[in-house]
């Protein structure tokens, strides 16, 4: 490879997504000659000026010779021509690694699979952030693996292990009681030990979803073992309904006792409000659309290993946004720009799916497309103080609602456009809250109201009631799921716990909530019921 070509390629290598014009390239490549020209230009003598123009023209011609060669080799292309004929060039290669080899020399140009055009202005101000930018296209955020009654735990582990490499946040094991009920203690312990190691290696989360009304006595040993280990990246979600509380009180109290002892958060999904699974990742809560979950349960369950849940996600820091921008129009435009970015991300993901997700497609054979049927993208919101917002009448609820309408219309239109061109895509975008774990640095400090319960009677105080009603509204808007976290302090009795659960499950429309015992001192013994 000739030296000049190599220099040009290195410039494109360092600016793999940018358009470079001829002036910039000349300055970089022929820096000494260009400095001379600039000196001549500063001179007042006519002959020097003429000479400088002649030399500049020569440099342009020289450069264009090499650029033409690279264009012919399909390495770069003209991206635009400005009014005075000035040309801009960009890499013609697709995203990923391109190895340009001539003779003994080799240049590897990596063009990231990221299209930021629509949100660059917000990203540079740290207002908007893609989740796990390095892998936000070549991995999914979350998938759900089904556990069936006759599933073998060893086989399930192999499948889970294969899937973990394809995600960058969380994997959910749905109906895990199907495995728990039919497996010996040692196999379950072995399984838990292995997935703890895997999640530590990959930094991914695993959510274990258990239906309380379907477990057998194996649950007790499992709870004890899990509470003893207290794994950082594995969480359990218990699906319960109000009527389960008295019937399965013994199990619920065991969970409360063991988990509160180890300061483990207890997650509950209210089955009466939602039949679709809810689960937790670092970025936030994931779920499925209720109607689509019904269709899946009736028509597709069992045909695949489970479902892809979330493809790509982007978060917006609400407080920061309104510090810099002020109007509803600007907010709606930002959300629409996020939606456009997600569409572009999905486009690349689709094009490369056979390469990126080959093993997942193999696991779902012969119905690989069914696995992607109900997946969505996420827009997550961080640092919005809903409570304060309602008190101060800032109208954020309405802003989010109207942004959601715009996003839904956009998705529908794009699906229609692509379908008309013979590209039957699915584009769905869900709204949800973000967790601090989405990206510690980007998120910064939390700015929201917490709910702390010291005693059961607190649930009857007006402030707590208003807070919970506000959170009900948020659950309505966040079609991608949300989580209410209750910080439980002070001692509680069995009656307290069952009563509190009953309030949360029957008096409010809160599909997913978590009891957090981080503020609890000492240990709690809930023995009087058992």
């Amino acid at each position: 490879m000739r030296n000049t070509e190599e220099v040009i390629l290195n410039l494109f290598k360092n600016n793999s997504t940018k358009e470079l014009n001829t002036d910039f390239l000349i300055k970089e490549i022929y820096s000494k000659d260009y400095a001379l020209i600039e000196n001549l230009l500063e001179s007042s003598e006519k002959t020097n000026l003429k000479e400088s123009k002649r030399k500049k023209f020569q440099l342009h011609r020289k450069l264009l010779y090499y650029l033409k060669k690279l264009i012919e080799g399909n390495i770069i292309k003209v991206s635009k021509i400005m009014e005075k004929g000035e040309k801009y060039f960009i890499l013609a290669t697709g995203e990923g690694d391109t190895i340009i080899e001539k003779g003994y020399k080799k240049i590897i140009i990596t063009k990231p699979a990221i299209t930021s055009t629509y949100i660059e202005q917000y990203e540079s101000k740290d207002i908007i952030k893609k989740y796990e930018e390095e892998s936000w296209i070549n991995r999914f955020n979350s998938i759900l693996l089904e556990c069936f009654k006759n599933d073998d735990i060893h086989q399930k582990y192999i499948t889970l292990n294969e899937c973990l490499i394809n995600i960058n946040d969380t994997l959910a094991l749905n109906d895990f009681e199907n495995i728990l009920n039919n497996t010996t203690d040692s196999s379950i312990k072995d399984f838990i030990d292995k997935i703890i190691k895997d999640t530590e290696t990959t930094s991914n989360n695993i959510s274990i979803i258990i239906n309380i009304d379907k477990v057998n006595n194996n649950i007790y040993e499992f709870i004890n073992y899990y509470a003893k280990l207290n794994p950082k990246n594995i969480n359990i979600i218990f699906n319960v309904s109000n009527k389960d509380i008295s019937k399965y009180a013994k199990i619920i109290l065991q969970i409360f006792e063991k988990f509160s002892d180890s300061k483990i958060k207890i997650n509950f999904k209210n089955k009466d409000l939602s039949s679709a699974p809810y689960f937790k990742g670092r970025a936030g809560i994931y779920n499925f659309n209720e109607e689509e979950w019904e269709i899946y349960s009736k028509k597709f369950k069992g045909k695949t290993i489970g479902l892809n849940c979330a493809q790509s996600q982007i978060a917006i820091n609400i407080n920061k946004f309104f510090d810099k921008y002020h109007t509803d129009t600007e907010f709606r435009q930002a959300i629409l720009n996020i939606a456009k970015t997600l569409l572009v991300a999905n486009t690349i993901q689709r094009r490369k799916s056979n390469e990126y997700f080959r093993n997942i497609n193999r696991l779902n054979s012969p119905n690989p497309s069914d696995f992607y049927k109900f997946s969505r993208n996420y827009i997550r919101f961080w640092n919005y103080d809903w409570h304060k917002d309602i008190l101060e009448n800032n109208n954020l609820f309405e802003r989010i609602k109207s942004a959601k309408e715009i996003v839904d219309n956009f998705c529908y239109s794009e699906e229609t456009i692509f379908k008309s061109c013979g590209i039957p895509i699915r584009l769905k975008i869900a709204f949800s809250s973000a967790f601090k774990g989405y990206d510690d640095k980007f998120m910064g400090e939390r700015d929201y109201k917490k709910i702390t319960i010291n005693k059961t009677e607190d649930y009857y105080n007006d402030e707590v009631k208003t807070f919970l009603q506000t959170r009900e509204k948020m659950f309505e808007i966040f079609d991608g799921g949300d989580r209410l976290r209750i910080f439980r302090k002070n001692d509680f009795t069995t009656t307290d716990i069952l009563h509190e659960l009953s309030i949360l499950l029957s008096a409010y429309k809160l599909p997913f909530f978590t009891y957090d015992f981080s503020g609890l001192k000492g240990t709690v013994k809930l023995t009087n019921f058992m």
Binding site: G94, K340, L343, V344, T347, Q349, R350, R351, S353, N354, F357, N361, N364, P368, S369, F371, Y372, F410, S413, E414, T416, I417, F418, K419, S420, C421, G422, I423, P424, I425, R426
Partner: protein, 214 residues
């Protein structure tokens, strides 16, 4: 109705105006207002001139239109993609894992018999597509290749054709395939004709159509 023009843009303009002026309104299953004419035949005699211009025009709007790369990939990728319900490429180049309709049939057939009337590619498969609840089936049903006066001409049947949004992409894709076949049999490309069983435009796009600056 027959529309014949030299360029894609002229043919497109004329067909859009024809549908707006002569179509019948109805509301589709998604509750969208639609204007439709039946059996619209549009012939472009020199599609090589501007088949990509329509894609550029579509990119001027607020929406994101599929890129030329994606339109071509959908037409030429032989492998089924798990993320699409169906895709043109596998149906054309690997029909249900059994037949490469272009390389193993159309090209050798036309090389062997330049007057053949059998050079047809089918994209519709009744065994999987004729399901009452299955809405995701190809719109482009078949492509017929015919050599006349040493030029490769193409006729396509499109069962349901959004003439504003879909037709530009369809023409770009069909021309890519026409060019591919023509190069293999070493002749020039000729005309493209689309026969749209339902040629329609959605009311929500009427304003966009008015706004186009060709």
């Amino acid at each position: 109705m027959n529309i014949e023009e030299k360029t894609c843009i002229d043919a497109w303009k004329k067909s859009l105006n024809y549908i707006i002026d002569n179509g019948i309104d109805f509301v589709d299953l998604d509750k969208r207002q639609c204007r439709e004419v039946l059996n619209l035949i549009v012939t472009i005699t020199e599609p090589e001139k501007d088949n990509d211009k329509l894609i550029d025009l579509m990119k001027r709007f607020e929406w994101i239109y599929p890129s030329c790369e994606e339109l071509t990939a959908v037409m030429f990728n032989k492998e089924d993609s798990a993320t699409y319900e169906y895709s043109y490429g596998p149906r054309i180049f690997n029909f249900f894992g059994k037949k490469d309709q272009v390389n193993d049939f159309v090209i050798p057939l036309l090389k062997n018999d330049r007057n053949s009337r059998r050079a047809i590619i089918s994209l519709f498969n009744p065994s999987s597509d004729s399901e009452i609840l299955n809405k995701n089936i190809p719109s482009l049903m078949l492509i017929h290749f015919k050599i006349i006066e040493n030029k490769l001409n193409c006729t396509c049947v499109i069962r349901s054709n959004d003439c504003f949004i879909g037709w530009p992409g369809n023409i770009y894709q069909i021309y890519s395939l026409q060019k591919y076949v023509a190069e293999k049999i070493n002749i020039e490309t000729g005309s493209i004709a689309t026969i749209s069983c339902s040629a329609h435009i959605f009311h929500e796009h009427f304003e966009n159509i008015k706004d186009i600056k060709y």
